[in-house]
Structures are given as structure tokens and as C-alpha cells.
């Protein structure tokens, strides 16, 4: 029996169905797991994504793209391959892609997490023979504290800054992380201001019925007015930029899984690093892989080598799958979770 997926120059390709999953170059037909730019690439002729994620995908790739959508679990047959999408719990609309042909089931995880997140449908592990899993945080040093503890720390830091008359600037990936924070932040503590890159994504979340704390687009006026009291959400690309000047004295912090490691925080001269990730931690990866029941596991993105060796020692048929984004992802603190990936056009 031949493989349902091949790893090609442009990404994972299904020869039987004639489509790619998350290709990083323009192709005829692309199934896209989610709207982060290392997964959703410009220029393909046709796209397929979850209905929950369609709005974000259009924001990223343009409203004119040829986009077909599926509800989670809704089957579609492409060239004899039964295709369906299943929640991955990574960000709003993120999917795993399930492929089935001749009784063989393959699942491509995309990015996923096991922790609860009010801004998206929770991960549902899918039984399969072959599981293509991400491994961004595939080392046992990565174990996430409960998100409510992290939010309590964020609130305490914000209040401490208010006492010291410093504006709290919290850097977070603009798509997903920022909204997850907004869903958990307590707006009664003070004004919340957001960077334009975050602001423009909020309508899609509100349209999906997700409750977010009240916030305003940071302008010259309200930034000056709320100096020393506000919490400002900004993408990591704003670090060290002139845009920050309007907030006066500030305390910078970063919300990311990479903040688990002190060096990653100190290198960026952050006062605080809040460990909050939209990826699965070590335990999350292992329980999810186990829950799929897969005997064959392809590992991609991040700490691939150790994960492959670990799974092999557990008796699974595991192998590494190269991706163009390995470099960026592996780079602690500068990875996809933080910045726009270099390779994303």
C-alpha cells in the first residue's frame, strides 16, 4: 500500500487526491489547517479550510481567494480520498486534516494544544494509522502551568506597574494569543489598548461569538491619557519600535511558550515572560499521539529529533519530516509563535 501523503518540495502532498496540506508555495489545491502565515501561504488556486476559520483566512490571504469550507467532521471526497476536518484547539478555526482511502487513515495535526482556550473549539484527537504531528515544544522541559495561574500573574504584574506608574506592554502573537489573552483579562483593572495588527482581527472573533474584554485601538491620544495605567497588547514585531514611545515609562513582557526558558526572556530584555502557549507541551504531545492510536508517526516542526527518538523507543514507527519552517520554529523566542515567519511572503 502506498503512502497517502508524500513530503515534497512544496509541502505535504496527497497524490491520490491531488491536493497539498499547508503548502509553502502556490499550488492548485491547498487544504489549510489554520491562518498563521507559516501554514497559510499566498497564491494557490483553490483553498479548503474549516468554516470556523474561514474569516481569518480571508483576512490573511485576501477576500478574493477561492475558498471552500467544511464544518468540523463534515466529509468531502476528493479523488477517491475521504477528507474531513477536526478541531485542533490551536486558534480559532484551526483544524486537523483526516484523510481516508482503502481503510487507511492519516491525520495531519497542523498546530494543536490540549489546554483549554475560550477562543476556539477544543482539540479532538482522531484515531488513525499514521499521525503527522507538530513538535514545537517536544522536550520535557516544556510543561505549561495552568492558564488561570498565568493570567493571575499577568494581573498582578499589571497592578504592580500601575503602582509604579508604568504602562504595561504585553507582547503576544497578533493572531490567537492576543485574543486568548483578551478573553481572559480583567478589564476592570484598567484600560486595555491594542496595536492595530491585533485590532483588525477582533471583528472576526466577535462575529464568532467569542467574549473579549473591552479594549481600544491605541491612538496617540488615548495612549497618552492612559500612560502608567493601561495594559497594551502588541505583536512582538513592535518590540523596540518608535510606536512604543507614546506610552511613556513602561514595563515590557512577553506571553509565549518560549518564556519557559529564562535565556529567551533575558535575551529580549523583557521584565516578565508569561508562559502561555497555543501549542501542546510535552505531556500534551505525548497524550495526543497516544490517543490517536497511530503506529506510524511523522514528526515535524521544532524539536523533531528528540521526539522521533522518544517515540521510537516507545515502539512506534516514527520519522522526521523536514519542513521549511524548522529553522524559525526551533529558534527560541524568535519562532513562529512570536513573529511573522520569514518565509511567509
Amino acid at each position: 500500500m502506498s503512502d497517502l501523503l508524500l513530503n515534497t518540495e512544496k509541502g505535504l502532498y496527497c497524490p491520490a487526491g491531488g491536493f497539498y496540506v499547508d503548502p509553502w508555495a502556490p499550488v492548485d489545491r491547498a487544504i489549510v489547517t489554520h491562518a498563521h502565515s507559516d501554514h497559510a501561504h499566498f497564491g494557490s488556486r483553490r483553498y479548503l479550510s474549516s468554516r470556523e476559520g474561514a474569516e481569518l483566512l480571508r483576512l490573511r490571504l485576501g477576500s478574493e481567494i477561492d475558498l471552500q469550507t467544511l464544518d468540523y467532521d463534515e466529509p468531502l471526497t476528493i479523488g477517491g480520498v475521504r477528507v474531513s476536518l477536526h478541531p485542533a484547539g490551536h486558534i480559532l478555526g484551526s483544524s486537523q486534516v483526516r484523510l481516508e482511502q482503502h481503510g487507511q487513515v492519516w491525520v495531519v495535526s497542523g498546530d494543536y494544544k490540549t489546554a483549554a482556550d475560550p477562543t476556539c473549539t477544543p482539540l479532538e484527537p482522531v484515531r488513525c494509522h499514521t499521525f503527522v504531528t507538530e513538535s514545537t515544544f517536544g522536550l520535557p522541559i516544556y510543561r505549561w502551568p495552568p492558564a488561570e495561574h498565568v493570567l493571575a500573574d499577568v494581573h498582578a504584574w499589571w497592578q504592580e506597574n500601575q503602582r509604579r506608574k508604568r504602562t504595561s506592554v504585553l507582547f503576544a502573537y497578533a493572531l490567537g494569543k492576543a485574543q486568548r489573552l483578551l478573553a481572559g483579562l480583567d478589564g476592570s483593572l484598567g484600560p486595555i489598548l491594542v496595536h492595530g495588527a491585533i485590532e483588525r482581527l477582533l471583528p472576526a472573533y466577535r462575529a464568532a461569538g467569542i467574549q473579549l474584554a473591552a479594549c481600544e485601538h491605541a491612538t496617540a491620544e488615548n495612549s497618552r491619557e492612559h500612560r502608567g495605567r493601561a495594559l497594551v497588547l502588541a505583536p512582538p514585531s513592535a518590540m523596540g519600535s518608535a510606536w512604543l514611545r507614546k506610552f511613556g515609562a513602561l514595563s515590557p513582557a512577553l506571553a509565549s511558550g518560549w518564556m519557559q526558558i529564562r535565556g529567551a526572556r533575558r535575551r529580549r530584555a523583557m521584565d516578565r515572560g508569561f508562559v502561555l502557549s497555543d501549542h501542546a507541551d510535552w505531556d500534551g504531545l505525548l497524550t495526543t499521539i497516544a490517543a490517536t492510536g497511530a503506529q506510524q508517526v511523522w514528526v515535524t516542526h521544532g524539536h523533531v529529533g528528540p521526539m522521533v527518538r522518544w517515540l521510537t523507543e516507545q515502539g512506534l514507527d516514527a520519522r522526521a519530516v523536514a519542513t521549511r519552517f524548522e529553522g524559525e520554529l526551533d529558534e527560541v523566542g524568535g519562532g513562529v509563535e512570536l513573529d511573522e515567519p520569514v518565509g511567509a511572503g
Partner: protein, 543 residues
Amino acid sequence: MQRFTQLYLDLDRTNRTADKVRALSEYFASAPPEDAAWALYFLIGRKIKRAIKTGLLREFVAAETHLPGWLVDESYEAVGDLAETLALLLEPNSRPCSEPLHRLVSDRVLRLKGLPPDQQRRLVISTWHELSTPQRLVWHKLITGEFRVGVQRTLVARALAAVAGVAAPIIEHRLMGHWDPTAEDFRRLLTGESHVSDPGRPYPFYLAYPLDMPLEQLGDIALWQAEWKWDGIRAELLRRHGQVLVWSRGEELVTDRFPEVVEVGAALPDGTVLDGEVLAWRDDLPLPFAVLQRRIGRTRLDAGTLSEAPCVFMAYDLLELAGEDVRHRPLQWRRGELERLIAPLIDHAPVRLSPVVLAADWNHLAQLHNESRDRHVEGLMLKRLAAGYGVGRQRGDWWKWKSEPYSIDAVLIYAQRGHGRRASLYTDYTFGVWDGGTLVPIAKAYSGLSDAEIREVDAFVRAHTVERFGPVRVVEAKLVFELHFEGIQVSARHKAGIAVRFPRMANWRRDKPAEEADTLDTVRALLAAHAPAGSVAGFVQHE
């Protein structure tokens, strides 16, 4: 222990000097003296030697977490810090242990050292169970002898000074003396009592600031004294109560390393303290630093080493005369007294007076500065004649004016991950120059790039790895960097036959293709043009 752990976290969480000083003074004002004494000991960088083999710790953590050893090693490579890796791998515990710091040090650090491995294991594992996750991190740093937190000694002194209600230089001076991490000595550090009589206590060194403006801005040249900048070991020579002590900048006693300097000290009158430089010296010229370094490296000084690397003490300042602290006197006065003391000794003891470099005007001085390399010195020092001898590094009265560095264009050939702040990024690079059709390694460099450039090079390394040898990646020969370095030396230990001193990246030459980087012949030409006499094989790269 919890108070100290919190201090560690607070210091780690800010880059603001004022916040750090506040956290430190709050700690010193509130901690019991028996704990504060140990905290001070660690904060100013004194160390307890590693109490346990790091291999054992890796073994214990693997057993405790049921992880294979290789995965512990992979984790360590990603974190770049063993103490932190262990803390991250263990089952988290948020409940702090209330044991005071001094008890932790005596029962779980000092005691650990003397135990056989199986008892070490029991103590380590029971301690893991008792400490919270952040406490474990701090404890791991103490038992591995790796405790470091981003505070300068001057900040610690400032905080302590605020608590003691005296000026910071006074505390700096008290800290230089002999004290043990006990409650009693801590109280004495604050009150100052009985410290005056400590005959072994050196004065804090006064350090020059790098010259960063045109000479003319210093004003009239007649207000300044110029001296050569010697490339040796800065040392303070104490002659008190019939005893001679030699302190290095690292606050290390190096008396037994340099019998020649002891000889100089013995010739001085009692109650004298000199500032100067220990230099390897032959035929009235300094020998390369590498020669001196061999003296430090040897555990035993035999006659061979002594004759191979004969040393002198190059005196340049006088801090104590006839038992009196004269640092507040102007340099002009101190220099006069120094000359009076040293001149009669020069023919009898291995001592020299750092000559005053005389120049008619700044232009003339700049010409002399150009001769630095030929004179085997690093450049010039400029000292204000009217100024007293200060404490630490301060702008204004002492400037160091280093000679222009050597410069070559070399190609990035190997990369390795960094440690600490740069853990898991490829930041440690090896550079090569052309020798025929191949690149031979010429230097390793870690510094000089901005964070953004580091990330770019890191991405390049990952995308252009040709081969791996353990942690080292061989990369495609593409990126060219302008390297600067201070010295160049024949070396039998280096493949290129040459070793360079203090290499760093000055510029990323994006405009230059790899084929146009410098050749080994160009580098050899630098060596031929400037290498000091007395070059030796076995040069150890000094970093």
C-alpha cells in the same frame, strides 16, 4: 531561603538599576544577618566550589523523572543552563520551604560536598522534594558553583551602603577586606568596626573609561599625564606589617604566582601600597601576554618556568604611604612620591616605573599612539594630574585609549549554540581564511552582532548546515565578517599556525562574497609586521 529566592527572582525580572538597588536594599534591611551574609557572599560573585559532579545530577534527575539520559542531555542543550534544566524537568512544586538560607548552605551545600555518591543522591532527592520549583533553581546554582545574577558589585555595594547609612565607596573598601559569611562579619561590614586593622585588605582598583571623544575635548594637554597601556596583569602590591601581598583584579591573591613581585614588595618600606601591572619582561620589552599566562596556568613554579617568563612589576600609582591612605591626593603628588620610592630600587629589584609619555600637544601624542604596537603596548592611558585615585570605573579622570585593532575579513565555517542568555541560538562561531582552495579556522568569536543579526545568522546556520559533528554545525561558506582582534601570535596548537587575541565581529560584510575573504598569507603578513619578539609556541588563546 524563600526571601533569597524572591530576591533572585526580583533581580532577574528587571533591567532597571533603581529597581535592582531597591530590591537589594529591601533584602539587606529585612533579612537576618546570618542569611544576609551568605546572600552578600553569593551576590558579589564569591563562590563555593562545585559541591557535586554535574554528571551525577543528570543521573539523579533522569532516575527521578523516569526520563532517559539522552533526553536530559537534549533538554540541557536547549536550555543551556544545567541548574535551570533540572528545575524544569522535575515535577513542579509551588510550596516553598521555610528553611533559612544559612541552614540551606550548611546542610545542603557545604555538607553535600563531602558525602559519598549514594548519600549525595539521598540528600539531593530529599531536597528536591522539600524545595519549591524556584527554590530548586537557586539551590542548583549554588551546588553547581554557577550562581550568577545580573547585578554588578557596585549595585550591591550601593544597596548595602543605603542600609548602613554610609557612602558606597566605603562599603566597597570594606568588602575588599577579609570577611566570612557570618552574622558577625556582616554586622561589621555594616558598622565598619574592626575592619581598619585588617592588614590584608587591598583598596578597590580605579578603572579607566574607554576614550570616546576627540582628544581636544579633554582640554589642555598640560592637565594630563599620559602613560603606555600595558598588556599584563593589573595588580595591587601591599607591604604592611612586614608582609607582602599581591592582589589581582579578580580580587584573587596571586602572591605565590609572582616571587619577583614579592621581592619588590620586600624592598619597599612598611605601610606602602602600589598599583601597577605584572608583566613578563625581557631585554627591556614586555613579552606577549601568553607568556605571562603560562605563569598563571602552572600549579608549580619551577626554575624553568621562572626563567622562561621572568616578570617585573610596572608601578604606576601610589595608594598608601607610611601607612596612610593617600588616594585623595592629586596624581601629581602621588606620582612624585612614587618616583621617590621606586627610583632607588630599579637597579636592585624587578621593578619599573611606568614612564610618563611626554608630548608637546595632542597631535604629537596621537603620533606616539600610532607606535603602540611597535612598543608592544596596547595604547595609551590618560590620567588627570589634579585627580585623586577613584573607585571602580568612572568617566572623567582616567581614560584608556587603545590602539586600533587588527582587522581581517573571514568566512563563517562552524557554528555552535550559545549558553545562558543565548541558549539554543547558534551564536558561537568559528571563522576561516583561505589557504589555497580550503578555509582554515583562524578565530572563534561570540560578540559584536546585534540581536537581530544573531537571529539572522542563526536562521542561516539552520538552513545551510552541510554536516554536523555533535553540537557543531559545519555551514556553507557564504557569510563574510570583518573580525577585529588585539594581538596575533604564532601557535603550534592552532591549525592555521596562528592564534589571535580578543577576536570579535566588527562588521557583517554582506557586500563581500566568500571567495574574496582574506587568505592565510595576508594574516601571516600581519604577524610578520607586528608580532613582538619572543613569540612562543603553545600560545593559549586568551578570552
